[in-house]
Amino acid sequence: MGKKRGLLSNSIRPVRLQREMTQQELADRVGVTRQTINAIEGDKYSPSLEVAFEIARALGVPLDEIFRYGEK
Protein backbone atom coordinates (compact mmCIF):
# COMPACT_ATOMS: atom_id res chain seq x y z
CA MET A 1 0.00 0.00 0.00
CA GLY A 2 1.26 3.41 -0.90
CA LYS A 3 4.72 2.30 -2.07
CA LYS A 4 6.04 1.74 -5.61
CA ARG A 5 4.53 5.03 -6.71
CA GLY A 6 3.83 5.12 -10.45
CA LEU A 7 3.54 1.35 -11.10
CA LEU A 8 -0.19 1.22 -10.45
CA SER A 9 -2.39 3.37 -12.65
CA ASN A 10 -6.14 3.54 -13.01
CA SER A 11 -9.00 4.90 -15.07
CA ILE A 12 -11.43 5.56 -12.23
CA ARG A 13 -12.05 9.20 -13.13
CA PRO A 14 -13.27 8.69 -16.75
CA VAL A 15 -15.42 5.68 -15.77
CA ARG A 16 -16.84 7.56 -12.79
CA LEU A 17 -17.64 10.63 -14.90
CA GLN A 18 -19.23 8.38 -17.53
CA ARG A 19 -21.60 7.17 -14.81
CA GLU A 20 -22.18 10.76 -13.64
CA MET A 21 -20.96 9.88 -10.17
CA THR A 22 -19.20 12.31 -7.82
CA GLN A 23 -16.11 11.42 -5.80
CA GLN A 24 -18.23 11.62 -2.65
CA GLU A 25 -20.83 9.21 -4.05
CA LEU A 26 -18.16 6.72 -5.04
CA ALA A 27 -16.46 7.13 -1.65
CA ASP A 28 -19.76 6.44 0.15
CA ARG A 29 -20.36 3.29 -1.91
CA VAL A 30 -16.82 2.02 -1.34
CA GLY A 31 -16.63 2.99 2.33
CA VAL A 32 -13.66 5.35 2.20
CA THR A 33 -13.30 9.13 2.41
CA ARG A 34 -13.63 11.43 -0.60
CA GLN A 35 -9.98 12.45 -0.08
CA THR A 36 -8.93 8.80 -0.50
CA ILE A 37 -10.81 8.49 -3.80
CA ASN A 38 -9.14 11.72 -4.93
CA ALA A 39 -5.69 10.36 -3.97
CA ILE A 40 -6.34 7.06 -5.80
CA GLU A 41 -7.56 8.85 -8.94
CA GLY A 42 -4.42 10.97 -8.92
CA ASP A 43 -2.19 7.86 -8.61
CA LYS A 44 -0.93 9.20 -5.28
CA TYR A 45 -2.19 6.29 -3.22
CA SER A 46 -2.41 2.60 -4.11
CA PRO A 47 -5.47 1.07 -2.42
CA SER A 48 -5.67 -2.33 -0.78
CA LEU A 49 -7.01 -5.21 -2.85
CA GLU A 50 -10.31 -5.04 -0.96
CA VAL A 51 -10.84 -1.36 -1.75
CA ALA A 52 -9.78 -1.92 -5.39
CA PHE A 53 -12.43 -4.65 -5.74
CA GLU A 54 -15.03 -2.42 -4.04
CA ILE A 55 -14.26 0.42 -6.48
CA ALA A 56 -14.61 -1.93 -9.47
CA ARG A 57 -17.89 -3.26 -8.06
CA ALA A 58 -19.24 0.24 -7.38
CA LEU A 59 -18.42 1.30 -10.94
CA GLY A 60 -19.78 -1.96 -12.38
CA VAL A 61 -16.68 -2.92 -14.36
CA PRO A 62 -14.07 -5.70 -14.02
CA LEU A 63 -11.06 -4.91 -11.85
CA ASP A 64 -8.54 -5.11 -14.71
CA GLU A 65 -10.48 -2.50 -16.68
CA ILE A 66 -10.00 -0.03 -13.84
CA PHE A 67 -6.52 -0.81 -12.53
CA ARG A 68 -3.36 -1.53 -14.51
CA TYR A 69 -0.02 -2.56 -13.07
CA GLY A 70 3.32 -1.67 -14.68
CA GLU A 71 1.87 0.05 -17.76
CA LYS A 72 1.01 3.70 -18.11
Binding site: M1, G2, T33, Q35, T36, A39, K44, Y45, P47
Partner: protein, 137 residues
Protein backbone atom coordinates in the same frame (compact mmCIF):
# COMPACT_ATOMS: atom_id res chain seq x y z
CA UNK B 1 -8.04 23.08 -0.43
CA UNK B 2 -10.62 20.93 1.37
CA UNK B 3 -9.51 19.36 4.62
CA UNK B 4 -10.89 16.12 5.99
CA UNK B 5 -12.03 15.83 9.61
CA UNK B 6 -8.77 14.04 10.39
CA UNK B 7 -6.63 16.84 8.91
CA UNK B 8 -8.55 19.53 10.81
CA UNK B 9 -8.10 17.46 13.97
CA UNK B 10 -4.34 17.23 13.34
CA UNK B 11 -4.04 20.99 12.79
CA UNK B 12 -5.91 21.57 16.07
CA UNK B 13 -3.61 19.17 17.94
CA UNK B 14 -0.50 20.79 16.44
CA UNK B 15 -1.61 24.35 17.23
CA UNK B 16 -2.71 23.52 20.79
CA UNK B 17 0.45 21.54 21.51
CA UNK B 18 2.73 24.34 20.29
CA UNK B 19 0.73 27.04 22.11
CA UNK B 20 0.35 25.23 25.44
CA UNK B 21 3.87 23.83 25.74
CA UNK B 22 5.39 26.99 24.22
CA UNK B 23 3.75 28.84 27.10
CA UNK B 24 4.89 26.20 29.61
CA UNK B 25 8.55 26.25 28.53
CA UNK B 26 8.63 30.06 28.32
CA UNK B 27 7.54 30.18 31.99
CA UNK B 28 9.36 27.12 33.40
CA UNK B 29 12.78 27.85 31.88
CA UNK B 30 15.43 28.71 32.90
CA UNK B 31 15.59 26.55 36.01
CA UNK B 32 15.63 28.25 39.41
CA UNK B 33 16.89 25.11 41.17
CA UNK B 34 18.24 21.62 40.55
CA UNK B 35 14.86 19.97 41.13
CA UNK B 36 11.37 20.52 39.75
CA UNK B 37 9.66 22.85 42.21
CA UNK B 38 6.00 23.32 43.14
CA UNK B 39 5.75 26.27 40.73
CA UNK B 40 6.74 24.14 37.72
CA UNK B 41 4.53 21.28 38.91
CA UNK B 42 1.44 23.47 39.12
CA UNK B 43 2.34 25.10 35.78
CA UNK B 44 2.61 21.64 34.20
CA UNK B 45 -0.79 20.60 35.60
CA UNK B 46 -2.33 23.81 34.24
CA UNK B 47 -0.71 23.13 30.83
CA UNK B 48 -2.04 19.55 30.66
CA UNK B 49 -5.56 20.61 31.72
CA UNK B 50 -5.51 23.48 29.19
CA UNK B 51 -4.38 21.09 26.44
CA UNK B 52 -7.20 18.64 27.21
CA UNK B 53 -9.85 21.39 27.42
CA UNK B 54 -8.73 23.07 24.17
CA UNK B 55 -8.67 19.74 22.32
CA UNK B 56 -12.07 18.59 23.61
CA UNK B 57 -13.75 21.91 22.71
CA UNK B 58 -11.88 22.12 19.39
CA UNK B 59 -12.78 18.58 18.34
CA UNK B 60 -16.42 19.14 19.30
CA UNK B 61 -16.47 22.30 17.15
CA UNK B 62 -14.86 20.49 14.19
CA UNK B 63 -17.29 17.57 14.53
CA UNK B 64 -20.27 19.97 14.51
CA UNK B 65 -18.96 21.75 11.40
CA UNK B 66 -17.91 18.56 9.59
CA UNK B 67 -20.12 15.54 10.24
CA UNK B 68 -17.95 13.17 8.18
CA UNK B 69 -15.74 11.85 10.97
CA UNK B 70 -15.13 8.36 9.55
CA UNK B 71 -11.61 7.17 8.74
CA UNK B 72 -10.37 4.53 6.31
CA UNK B 73 -7.28 2.45 5.42
CA UNK B 74 -5.38 5.48 4.08
CA UNK B 75 -5.93 7.34 7.36
CA UNK B 76 -4.65 4.29 9.25
CA UNK B 77 -1.55 4.04 7.04
CA UNK B 78 -0.78 7.75 7.43
CA UNK B 79 -1.23 7.52 11.20
CA UNK B 80 1.13 4.53 11.36
CA UNK B 81 3.82 6.38 9.38
CA UNK B 82 3.44 9.47 11.56
CA UNK B 83 3.67 7.41 14.75
CA UNK B 84 6.82 5.68 13.43
CA UNK B 85 8.49 9.03 12.73
CA UNK B 86 7.51 10.35 16.15
CA UNK B 87 8.86 7.19 17.81
CA UNK B 88 12.38 7.84 16.48
CA UNK B 89 12.36 11.31 18.06
CA UNK B 90 10.95 9.96 21.34
CA UNK B 91 13.57 7.17 21.49
CA UNK B 92 16.31 9.76 20.91
CA UNK B 93 14.77 11.88 23.67
CA UNK B 94 14.72 9.02 26.16
CA UNK B 95 18.42 8.40 25.48
CA UNK B 96 19.21 12.13 25.73
CA UNK B 97 17.31 12.49 29.01
CA UNK B 98 19.11 9.47 30.51
CA UNK B 99 22.43 11.07 29.52
CA UNK B 100 21.25 14.35 31.06
CA UNK B 101 20.33 12.52 34.27
CA UNK B 102 23.86 11.13 34.48
CA UNK B 103 25.65 14.47 34.08
CA UNK B 104 23.36 16.86 35.99
CA UNK B 105 22.24 17.18 39.60
CA UNK B 106 18.57 16.97 40.53
CA UNK B 107 15.65 16.05 38.33
CA UNK B 108 14.89 19.35 36.60
CA UNK B 109 17.02 18.86 33.48
CA UNK B 110 16.06 15.17 33.14
CA UNK B 111 12.34 15.96 33.38
CA UNK B 112 12.47 18.87 30.96
CA UNK B 113 14.64 17.16 28.34
CA UNK B 114 12.21 14.23 28.43
CA UNK B 115 9.17 16.52 28.22
CA UNK B 116 10.69 18.59 25.41
CA UNK B 117 11.42 15.47 23.35
CA UNK B 118 7.92 14.12 23.99
CA UNK B 119 6.44 17.38 22.69
CA UNK B 120 8.86 17.32 19.74
CA UNK B 121 7.94 13.68 18.97
CA UNK B 122 4.25 14.61 18.93
CA UNK B 123 4.96 17.57 16.64
CA UNK B 124 6.99 15.37 14.27
CA UNK B 125 4.24 12.72 14.26
CA UNK B 126 1.51 15.27 13.51
CA UNK B 127 3.58 17.23 10.95
CA UNK B 128 4.45 13.95 9.14
CA UNK B 129 0.78 13.06 8.92
CA UNK B 130 -0.16 16.50 7.61
CA UNK B 131 2.61 16.25 5.00
CA UNK B 132 1.42 12.77 3.92
CA UNK B 133 -2.19 13.96 3.64
CA UNK B 134 -1.11 16.79 1.32
CA UNK B 135 1.17 14.51 -0.74
CA UNK B 136 -1.49 11.83 -1.11
CA UNK B 137 -0.09 9.09 1.16
Amino acid sequence: MSLSFREKSLWLMLASLVAVFGFYFSRALPADGANVGPQQTSLFIVAVVALVVVQVIGHAAIAIADRRTESDERDALIELKGTRNGYFVLATGVFASLCAALVTNGNFVFMHVLLAFWVLAEIVSIASQLFLYRRGA
